[in-house]
Subunit: 250 residues, 2 copies
């Protein structure tokens, strides 16, 4: 009977073509499968909690995998993995879960941060979006609050994805300022592909005065991807939390 | 009559062979001189507040330069410089000072931070020293306090430098913990070359239990560079502040 494990990791996305395995490009998923297969001496396939696009970071990510004979009791797998993996991927924790637990389908929420540098910052070129024009953050927050009034976010999704519905339940959406850094925090039960970056890009147009709050609402109501602003660049986006039922962290 | 200006900048040292101009290697000083010469249309030489070694960062740095005809009133030099400079160097401020003000000789103190990651951190590979073995931070702090009892730091200097004395007045020396990050803050009127990294490297040996606090003191008393521990690596070190008399910031 195979055993199922959850694994908590973090990665800097700069050097990867996103989470998901694809031909001719290095993905975090592929690197993790290779590391686990090597250390556990059997072919290991991993299932991630979601996809992150090329260049997007995760300070918190969960994957699961099944192995035939379990992890040997005397193997410090976290230490082994961290020694084996490149410096831009780190493993924090590996633990056994019930066989029904699923990294993606058991997740009840995801939280993202999007960082904007409002001054040139030599230390954040790969981890924030530099945006030097003046922004009305109060207005961006007022617009962000309107997200709670809607459930269909087709306007902020990428076309031609295979999901059944474009409905998401927004749980948090807020801009905060930390010195010369703006942080957008958004939490929902699920996100459509490209959704956070499309929301941030459109909120930046609100912040510049190019869009009113009413126009922002109209864009959502149109349920048309062409209506929204340009996506904000990948390097500012961090997946920072994934919610699961308590018993998974037993 | 030439005018003298101070310029405040920050840089990520990863891609530079330190502050000081040298043959066959890119330095921050050279990049700054080129940028200023280009924008001000005259050959500009700059004098830095000190030297940082290859790979060392500065979140705060001051240089001065003299120019014949002053900076044109309608030139937004900070904006121009930031557009011209690479993404890992940023300019915060440029202002005229008295002709006696000197970036290096007017400075009354320097403050450095040294960062240690006590867990693998994918986001800090270029800005901290990864150190996973257990450390007794209390003991490292007790040893750091002993630095206040001494003024000659020959044991923590590089051999064959051209300074007249090896005397420094330590004003602050303290380890603090921020989650999985240790921060060493050290402030003095001046520092010898390599001094902070040699102190940190030796304090790490105290933290591991390889050296007692008494042995740490003996090392200083020996006034012999060979006695100290290995230098901690460059990427954890940040110059974070330089003190000047108030009137320079008029």
């Amino acid at each position: 009977m195979p055993e199922r494990y959850f694994l908590q990791l973090s990665y800097k996305g700069t050097n990867y073509h996103g989470w998901q395995i694809q031909p001719n490009a290095v993905s975090v998923q592929e690197v993790m499968e290779n590391a686990l297969s090597k250390i556990l001496r059997e072919k290991v396939a991993v299932v991630g909690a979601g996809r992150t696009d090329a260049g997007v970071h995760a300070s918190f990510f969960i994957l699961h995998f099944d192995i035939e004979n379990g992890i040997p009791k005397n193997l410090d797998i976290v230490y082994k993995l961290n020694s084996f993996l490149p410096s831009d991927i780190a493993v924090q924790k590996v633990w056994q879960v019930d066989e029904e637990a699923h990294a993606r389908f058991s997740a009840t929420s995801r939280t993202y941060h999007y960082f904007i540098s409002t001054e040139k910052d030599p230390f954040a070129t790969e981890t924030s979006h530099k945006y030097l024009k003046p922004l009305d953050v109060d207005k961006m927050n007022q617009a962000a609050q309107k997200l709670f009034n809607y459930t269909d976010f087709t306007s902020f999704s990428r076309l031609h994805t295979d999901v059944k519905t474009n409905n998401c339940k927004i749980m948090k959406a807020e801009w905060t300022r930390h010195g010369e850094r703006l942080q957008f925090t958004i939490k929902a039960d699920r996100f459509l592909r490209n959704m956070v970056r499309a929301i941030v890009g459109t909120l930046l147009e609100v912040g510049q005065g190019k869009l009113s709050i009413e126009q922002f609402c109209k864009i959502i109501e149109k349920q048309d991807r062409g209506a929204a602003g340009a996506s904000a660049p990948a390097q500012g986006l961090f997946l920072v939390d994934i919610g699961y039922p308590e018993n998974i962290f037993k």
